[in-house]
């Protein structure tokens, strides 16, 4: 191992970070221990993603990294270096979830809204390209996004409507 590569491997307490966040290139330095959702909220000002349990079960922090839903609380920002990150703000601005948002409003699939950004991130991944799905499968997919307000039925209704409107089929 060369002296240079040895140096490159030395553990660091803060490091350079660059990623595409909601279509915009962001470059900065970050502490090693900072997790992704705290980075997005505190450093980038994207407060749409929420912090709940901080151990991965509630789903409020769910965002998309390279198109996949992930827990923002269980990923170091450092691990998202070089990635394509989408939060609810970006999903809204791009229009990608317009039908989900519309269906959510009409079905009363949100009340306080705390779970909603994480729920929408999970659902963006779920509804994309789905030809057929059962309501049970929808429930299984959102089982990691806790909602204290709605009782979930309206959320499942909204998702079912969107899948069918996009050309898929939802069985009971």
């Amino acid at each position: 191992m060369t002296a240079q590569s040895q140096k490159a491997l030395e553990p660091v307490s803060e490091l350079a970070f660059e990623a595409i966040i909601n279509g915009e290139r962001i470059s900065c330095r970050i502490p090693a221990r900072l997790n992704l959702v705290d980075f997005l909220r505190e450093e980038v000002g994207l407060t749409g993603s929420h912090v709940g349990c901080e151990h991965g079960v509630c789903g409020a922090c769910t965002v998309l990294v390279n198109g996949q839903s992930v827990r923002g609380c269980l990923m170091l920002a450092a691990q998202a270096d070089g990635a394509n990150i989408e939060t609810v703000e970006g999903l809204h601005q791009s229009g990608r979830i317009a039908d989900l948002q519309d269906a959510f409003l009409r079905h009363n699939a949100l009340q306080c809204g705390y779970c909603t950004p994480g729920m929408l991130a999970t659902l963006t991944e779920l509804v994309e390209g789905k030809k057929s799905l059962s309501r049970d499968k929808i429930r299984a997919a959102i089982s990691g996004n806790y909602c204290r307000c709605t009782g979930y039925q309206s959320i499942v209704d909204a998702v079912a409507e969107v899948i069918e409107a996009r050309g898929g089929k939802v069985t009971s």
Partner: protein, 292 residues
């Protein structure tokens, strides 16, 4: 609360990774999927000095992220994620039990990041993969700066979150021997909510669908670690499960399992649930249906 201050390293090769672990010893933790490590950091249950992020190893060694047919076995690489298992036609064909079990592993966002080998390293008593590996006779390959070694899954798990993995070792891959359709599987898990850690679960691997010959049975969620339930296996060997008296099964289970009391269930509840999940797994095997 938030994670404590720590250092972070991102090795690009397996050599670099094991050298970092050797250098920093007990002060280093491996960061793979992070779905079990990060909660520990966030709650300060653990405060490693150095996080060794091994996700970068995929660039120099893409085979670490692959599920491969080696001829004798299916090899699951170090960085294969639960979602890769979920999407694998090879796994679905060779080990229907694994394809069935993956739906029980946490939730989609967790499955997108968490790794199969990471689950074995963490050795949570309520996790599915350790029990699946024990039941299916899997062999782990461990690698360190001193070289590599193999160990059978049934010898690997030794206690609550404890295993034979030494500090400085990384699980490089897991080999599950192919069965050529000669074995049947049963799997059943009970949890309060979908995706929760199991209250009780069982993996059954046997030569017959109805007569459980040469059965390998491993429970999860009801004992400190994944291990073969040998008294129960001896009891059911060559028999039809439905023909064995429930109290005889319960007696064998009580010898094999030492369930714990916690906020989710008492030890006697867990022992009862062990009997329930075993009965349901065997019934699913017998009827050829899914055990979900």
């Amino acid at each position: 609360m938030k994670a404590a201050d720590c250092l972070y390293a991102r090795p690009g090769t397996l050599d670099e990774a094991v050298n970092l672990l050797a250098t920093y010893g007990d002060g280093a933790s491996i960061l793979a999927g992070g779905q079990s490590l990060m909660p520990g950091l966030n709650f300060r249950l653990s405060s490693p000095n150095v996080l060794v992020d091994i996700n970068g190893l995929l660039q120099s060694a893409p085979e670490l992220g692959q599920i491969v047919d080696t001829g004798d076995a299916i090899r699951i690489g170090m960085l294969v994620r639960h979602v890769d298992i979920e999407r694998s036609d090879l796994i679905a064909r060779e080990f229907p039990m694994i394809a069935q079990a993956v739906a029980f592993v946490a939730h989609p966002a967790i499955r997108n990041r968490g790794t199969f080998c990471g689950s074995l390293a963490y050795a949570d008593p309520a996790a599915e993969w350790p029990a699946v590996c024990v039941a299916l006779n899997a062999v782990l390959t461990l690698v360190s700066d001193k070289g590599s070694r193999t160990i059978a899954a049934e010898d690997y798990f030794t206690g609550l979150f404890e295993s034979q993995r030494l500090g400085g070792e990384i699980i490089e891959s897991v080999d599950i021997p192919k069965q050529g359709g000669k074995r049947q599987h049963g799997f059943y898990e009970l949890a309060r909510r979908h995706g929760d850690f199991a209250l009780a679960g069982v993996c059954v691997d046997a030569a017959g669908r109805e007569k459980l010959s040469g059965a390998r049975i491993c429970f999860f969620g009801v004992h400190s670690h994944a291990c073969l339930a040998r008294q129960t296996m001896a009891l059911v060997d060559g028999k039809k499960f439905a023909e064995i008296g429930a109290d005889i099964v319960a007696a064998a289970l009580a010898k094999d399992l030492q369930p714990f009391d916690d906020i989710h269930a008492t030890s006697s509840q867990r022992l009862h649930l062990a009997k329930v999940v075993l009965a349901r797994a065997c019934e699913a095997m017998r009827s050829g249906g899914s055990a979900a």
